[in-house]
């Protein structure tokens, strides 16, 4: 009975990981197609059969799961000013592992309401105004949502003076109230909302999604997968009382449709002549680039870096690149046949582009300002230049032939000197996709999860500024 079973219901694959809690080892992993249309239990059973072939018949002390199946945790968020409360709401939802299907700023319009009705979210996070500040935004939005014919859980986390009116207006909705995400100007307070999102995910979402007819499986789903990964990254960086962490880090997951970037880092300015602007950023920060991915979002990568960039890095002609771009848009399941065929080289360039763009969007930026006291830099977001570890997870990186060349695109470069990315780093790779499983395991066994992560991540080497890229 000293085994734990960890399950990750992904949108495509259901992955299972068996851990021996005494020897603190992963005794087996397996996967099967996720079966959301019928019953998610069917795919799980196939994966478990495969796992049993590796581990033999073992009994589990507990089973826990995370899920991003059936579209993941789909949230809409609203705020007032795009860079302020709306941004705070966005950071809160992403950090809780959600996928943001819509972000609204200022007051909702009729068109917005039609969009919400057409594709209702799992949770709606409503913010706006500092405490004692703007009330109209939240109050009017609540009044507008009341008219909808669909209902969904709503979290109110804006100006506390607006809460009463909002609760009255939204009496027909399951409403929870949290402390303001931006209680006073520029101050971020998102943990309470994130805990609430997680609670709602457990209570309502998993059930409502018809993920399974088997009650037994349901009770084991603890959190959305990205939230499990973020929590594994945080555990790895911070350590526990008994086991030291490895310090500040960046994590990158280049997927088929999106690219996620995680940083566990304070990111405070290092120089004297730097002034910080904008909202505080969370220590554990996750961003998701919905237009950057290896199959569904090829166009986003190409439009950002340009076709010649892709062709230069893949060694393919512009025509060949164009052909792959259109072929991949028709057939998302195309994969390279060998490590150095043309598609593999094309994928290499795509992954490089994805890492380049996604890290640039995640990292803080500097701007120069000439003042009477000389040159001053204005910093927005996190300064990650001193982060020394980058963790890669996800298939596109695991199967890559020259992963360090891809990883170099996450670094600070003279070409974008104002983008505050790590100057040098040790690259670690999650070869057996264990991060989400360990994030789930950490709910019960923090020390064991941490020791397994530290052992399982494969160091690929060091990269630094000035390496040819």
């Amino acid at each position: 009975m000293h085994y734990a079973l960890l399950i990750d219901f992904g949108s495509t694959f259901t992955k299972v990981t068996a851990v021996d809690l005494i020897s603190e080892e992963i005794v087996g992993t397996a996967s099967a197609f996720t079966t959301v249309d019928s019953d998610i239990g069917t795919g799980l059973n196939v994966a478990l059969d495969r796992l049993r072939r590796v581990t033999g018949d073992i009994a589990f002390e507990f089973k826990s799961a995370c899920s991003s199946a059936a579209g993941g945790l789909r949230m809409m968020v609203s705020g007032l000013v795009p860079e302020l409360t709306a941004e705070a709401a966005r950071l809160a939802a992403l950090g809780a592992g959600a996928r943001i299907t819509r972000l609204f700023t200022h007051e909702l319009t009729r068109r917005d309401l039609i969009a919400i009705e057409a594709d209702p979210p799992d949770i709606f996070l409503m913010t706006g105004g500092t405490d004692g500040g703007n009330r109209a935004c939240m109050e009017k939005n609540a009044e507008k949502l009341r008219s909808l014919s669909v209902q969904f859980p709503i979290i109110l986390a804006g100006n506390r003076q607006a809460i009463d009116a909002c609760e009255d207006a939204l009496a027909d909705f399951p409403v929870t109230v949290c402390p303001n995400v931006m209680p006073s100007f520029g101050v971020l307070n998102i943990e309470p909302v994130q805990r609430e999102i997680r609670d709602l995910f457990l209570k309502h979402i998993v059930n409502a999604r018809g993920l399974s007819k088997t009650k037994e499986i349901l009770s084991d789903i603890l959190m959305p997968t990205p939230s499990a990964i973020l929590s594994a990254m945080k555990l790895l960086a911070d350590g526990t009382e008994k086991e030291t962490g490895i310090g500040e880090l960046m994590g990158i997951d280049v997927g088929g449709a999106t690219t996620d970037v995680y940083t566990i880092a304070r990111g405070e300015p290092v120089d004297m002549n730097v002034i910080c602007k904008g909202l505080d950023e969370p220590y554990a920060k996750r961003t998701v680039e919905g237009d950057i991915g290896m199959r569904y979002s090829v166009a986003g990568i190409v439009s950002e870096v340009g076709q010649s960039w892709i062709s230069e890095r893949s060694g393919l002609t512009a025509d060949d690149c164009a052909t792959y771009i259109s072929e991949l848009s028709d057939d998302k399941s195309k994969v390279p046949l060998t490590h150095d065929d043309a598609l593999a080289r094309f994928d290499h360039a795509l992954a490089s582009g994805a890492v380049e763009i996604a890290t640039r969007r995640h990292a803080g930026v500097l701007e120069e300002a000439f003042t009477t006291s000389g040159l001053i830099y204005v910093q927005t977001g996190k300064d990650l230049r001193s982060v020394r570890q980058i963790i890669f997870t996800g298939g596109s990186f695991i199967h890559a032939q020259s992963p360090l060349d891809i990883a170099r695109h996450a670094l600070y470069t003279e070409r974008y000197p104002m983008s505050l990315r790590p100057k040098q780093a040790t690259v670690l790779r999650d070869d057996r996709y264990i991060l989400s499983a360990m994030g789930v395991l950490a709910e019960r066994e923090k020390d064991i999860a941490l020791r397994i992560i530290k052992r399982e991540l494969v160091p690929l080497g060091d990269i630094s500024l000035g390496d040819d890229s």
Binding site: L80, V81, E83, L84, T85, G128, G129, T130, G132, G133, N134, R135, A136, M182, S184, F185, I275, K277, A369, F370, T371, T372, S373, I376, V378
Partner: protein, 140 residues
């Protein structure tokens, strides 16, 4: 400290101006006078003033400038406020807001034309600004 008067101010030093001390003194003085103050500090852009005023539902924006470029930095502020739905919001400016020694009557006129409700010359004591804030916001 006086009892809070319920009026909210957004204050800061506009543009590429790093004079950090004066704005702290103003913050302190305004707070002592009963105002609820959001101090944006130095090097504040017009957009930051406006974003902060929207979120905090401010009753007035008080802009400080000490390095002589205030006239450039403040240009278009009122138009942007109108665009953001802050039309009619009380807007003050004060400090060394123009280059060199100029006749303050001319300076004041130019800033009035730019949409500023009150314009304060160098050396204005905080009490004077507080007096006008209270008057314009109908306090006491």
């Amino acid at each position: 400290m006086e009892q809070g008067n319920g009026k909210k101010l957004v204050i800061g030093v506009i543009g590429a101006d790093v004079h950090a001390v004066g704005i702290r003194i103003l913050e302190y003085a305004f707070r002592e006078a009963g105002f609820d103050v959001t101090n944006l500090g130095v090097m504040v852009s017009q957009e930051e003033f406006i974003g902060a005023a929207l979120e905090t539902a401010a009753d007035a924006i008080v802009i400080s400038s000490l390095y002589g470029h205030g006239e450039l930095d403040c240009r278009g502020m009122r138009d942007k406020m109108d665009e953001a739905g802050l039309d009619g919001l009380l807007l003050y400016v004060g400090g060394n807001i123009v280059v060199g020694k100029q006749d303050f009557v001319d300076v004041e006129k130019r800033f009035h034309e730019m949409g500023f409700d009150r314009v304060f010359p160098p050396g204005t004591p905080p009490e004077e600004t507080i007096y006008y804030l209270k008057k314009d916001l109908g306090v006491d």
